[in-house]
């Protein structure tokens, strides 16, 4: 087994034991990146090499020098008998929405061209403090606005390592692709409506959205401030727990970060699922999609293999001693996307007013008449269409005369979505659940260009994930099989507030019990030389 295939836990253990050096791990990772990733995303990409079509393109920028200095620091600490941290020598990518002091941070948008932040985001700093090696900034949908990575201003966009003709999902698609392609062991992503879990499902990796406030948002460029959650992406559940351990906790620089103590997520994994009450809901069996004329919701079935994977997971957990509780009502989950269209757009529009070409980033090079002209032209040239769409929609939905119909109503529906989960998890209620098991997505990864441009269809790929964001509760997507096209299927565990330990326990138990299943031996196409033409 190559160093790149090792889990983060194994890398850290071997580095700390002195069996391998952090520098060796780093060089192996860089070698893998150079073999499979191809060119990094850029603002002036001109496609002229067919070989690039088969590459992953997970990164906007590699930070090799930074990673080398971090590796040397880990090796120095070990040589001098100091504790290098729980992520000693573990290669990590960072979604390029987190600031990193002195390193260009783009949010995959032209408007942040050449922006070098004067400070580092708290979760990134915590990774560094824990001994991780930051190898680069991963590509994403522009300002996280998308579910396929195709909206990035930095092209070529990342592709799915399991089939490069398909999207990796999004918006943390570069992050999940970099982990699936064994370029790094871990990645730091963000999840506002499903942006960690949906691409994790599409790329066959583990993606965890923690409880809102569990991980600091300081240094994360805000999309929707009441929904954004930084979280781990890993190749197995243990690694996700390990990374969460490193990044969770209160931060005086983020007033919404929770003062509640963190759990020992790693030790909790071994507690098993015997006696856990695992809920299944019929409200997660379908995709609810709007009729453009009437606004009413029509119903579509989710991909059959995904339903079967969820049923199989329930059966595996039952065999391990969990109690399966069927027919748990979560009736307002179907309003998750309409509610998200309102809440996230209103908050995004507010957050995006700060980008004006005055203080940092891109400024139009053309001659302008005055300051207003400068701002208009800079924003017109600097923002992509998806960003403009969110600004306009947010302004409309929050404008006088419409806010009562839409924004205020959406906040009430959000409260009803939250109440459904409170009832399901109520220890004195009818269902008394510990976790809820659902599909992560309604389909496996779709083809590039198939959905991009249809913003409603794209948004509905987050139908199964978005309600956990509205409710603020934790949820994790883990690999649950492959479909007939050898594309990964994601299953999701949702838990009560601050009970990441419970959803990780359930995921770990399922993962361990299915280690010998045939699908686990199949590797992403970019790693097995089976890339489709």
């Amino acid at each position: 087994m190559s160093l790149n295939q090792l889990s983060a836990s194994e890398v850290s253990a071997r580095v700390r034991a002195g069996e391998i050096s952090a520098r060796e791990v780093l060089e192996a990772s860089l070698q893998q990146i150079h073999a499979v990733d191809g060119c990094s995303g850029s603002l002036d990409y001109q496609p002229n090499d067919p070989a690039e079509e088969q590459k992953v393109h997970a990164f906007i920028r590699l930070t090799e020098d930074l990673a080398r200095s971090q590796a040397d620091e880990v090796d120095r600490k070990l040589a001098e008998g100091e504790n290098p941290g729980i992520l000693a020598g573990v290669p990590v990518s960072i979604k390029d929405i987190f600031t990193l002091h002195g390193i260009e941070t783009t949010a995959a948008s032209r408007i942040l061209w050449n922006f070098k932040p004067p400070y580092t985001a708290t979760p990134v700093q915590k990774l560094i403090n824990a001994g991780a090696l930051i190898l680069g900034k991963a590509n994403l949908d522009e300002f996280t606005f998308g579910s396929s990575n195709e909206s990035s201003a930095y092209q070529p966009a990342p592709v799915n390592p399991w089939d490069p003709t398909r999207v990796p999902g999004g918006s943390s698609g570069g992050s999940t692709a970099s982990v699936a392609a064994e370029e790094v062991a871990l990645s730091l992503g963000t999840d506002t409506g499903g942006s960690i879990r949906q691409p994790a499902a599409f790329c066959g990796v583990v993606g965890l959205k923690p409880t809102y406030g569990r991980v600091s948002r300081y240094g994360l460029m805000a999309f929707s401030s009441s929904l954004d959650c930084p979280g781990p992406i890993a190749r197995n559940v243990s690694d996700a727990a390990l990374m969460l351990q490193a990044i969770a906790g209160v931060d005086p620089k983020d007033s919404t970060s929770s003062v509640l103590p963190t759990s020992n997520y790693i030790d909790a994994l071994k507690e098993g699922v015997k006696g856990l009450r695992v809920g299944l809901s019929p409200d997660y069996a379908h995709l609810y999609y709007p009729d453009f004329e009437t606004g009413e919701l029509a119903q579509e079935s989710i991909q059959k293999e995904i339903s079967q994977a969820v049923e199989h997971a329930a059966s595996v957990l039952a065999d391990l001693g969990a109690e399966i509780v069927e027919n748990v009502p979560l009736p307002n989950a179907k309003y998750g996307i309409p509610t998200y269209f309102v809440v996230s757009r209103v908050e995004a529009a507010s957050n995006l007013h700060r980008f004006d070409g005055v203080k940092y980033g891109y400024r139009t090079p053309v001659e302008v008449e005055d300051l207003q002209d400068l701002i208009r032209r800079t924003r017109a040239e600097g923002f992509g269409s998806q960003v403009k769409l969110r600004i306009l929609m947010g302004m409309y939905l929050s404008s006088e005369g419409f806010a009562a119909n839409y924004y205020q109503r959406a906040l009430k529906v959000r409260a009803m979505i939250r109440r459904d989960f409170e009832r399901a998890f109520d220890p004195n209620g009818e269902h008394r659940l510990d976790v809820i098991l659902t599909p992560t997505t309604a389909t496996t990864a779709f083809k590039r260009n198939d959905v991009f441009g249809n913003t409603v269809r794209m948004q509905y790929s987050d139908q199964m994930t978005v309600s956990a964001n509205h409710a603020g509760i934790p949820a994790v997507s883990i690999p649950g099989g492959l479909d007939a096209n050898n594309l990964p299927i994601g299953i999701q565990f949702i838990g009560p507030d601050f009970r990441e330990d419970l959803i990780l326990r359930a995921g770990y138990a399922y993962e361990q019990a299915t280690q010998t299943e045939a699908w686990r031996a199949i590797r992403p196409a970019v790693l097995s030389q089976e890339v489709k033409k």
Binding site: N114, F115, K116, P118, Y212, G213, S226, K253, S255, T256, V259, P290, F292, E293, G295, P338, T339, F341, V342, A349, D356, G357, V358, K359, Y360, G361, E369, D370, L371, L374, I375, A380, S385, K388, L389, I391, L392, M393, Y396, L397, F402, N405, Y406, Q408, R409, A410, L411, K412, V413, R414, A415, M416, R418, R419, G453, T455, V456, Q459, A471, I473
Partner: protein, 102 residues
């Protein structure tokens, strides 16, 4: 409640308020997509709201330590911030004149 659509006149007003400029094609695309998204949003108008439900700004009640004390703290390296600006003059951000300003 009536179902809304965004007409071109309102759309152009929003574009101006958002300090944006759009090409004709981009404007046509964005208006279509806004109305498509509004079709989804309009589903909210059909939701029977629970009588006792209160709007929530966050899913969970914030368990945070709350805001820091509102104290002036000088940034240690202001030159680093200015170095990232598109244009500076005498240690300040420089911009074109504001229309009508003297």
């Amino acid at each position: 409640m009536s179902i809304s659509r965004i007409n071109p006149e309102l759309f152009h007003k929003l574009v101006g308020l958002a300090a944006l400029e759009l090409t004709e094609d981009e404007g046509a695309y964005l208006l279509t997509e806004m109305n498509n998204q509004l079709s989804s949003v309009n589903a909210l108008l059909q939701v029977p709201l629970d009588e006792d439900i209160q709007p929530t700004l966050h899913g969970i009640q914030c368990q945070g330590a709350g805001p820091r004390a509102d104290l002036w703290q000088p940034f240690p390296t202001p030159g680093e911030i200015l170095a990232g600006a598109p244009e500076t003059e005498d240690g300040m951000f420089a911009v074109p004149d504001v229309k009508g300003a003297k």
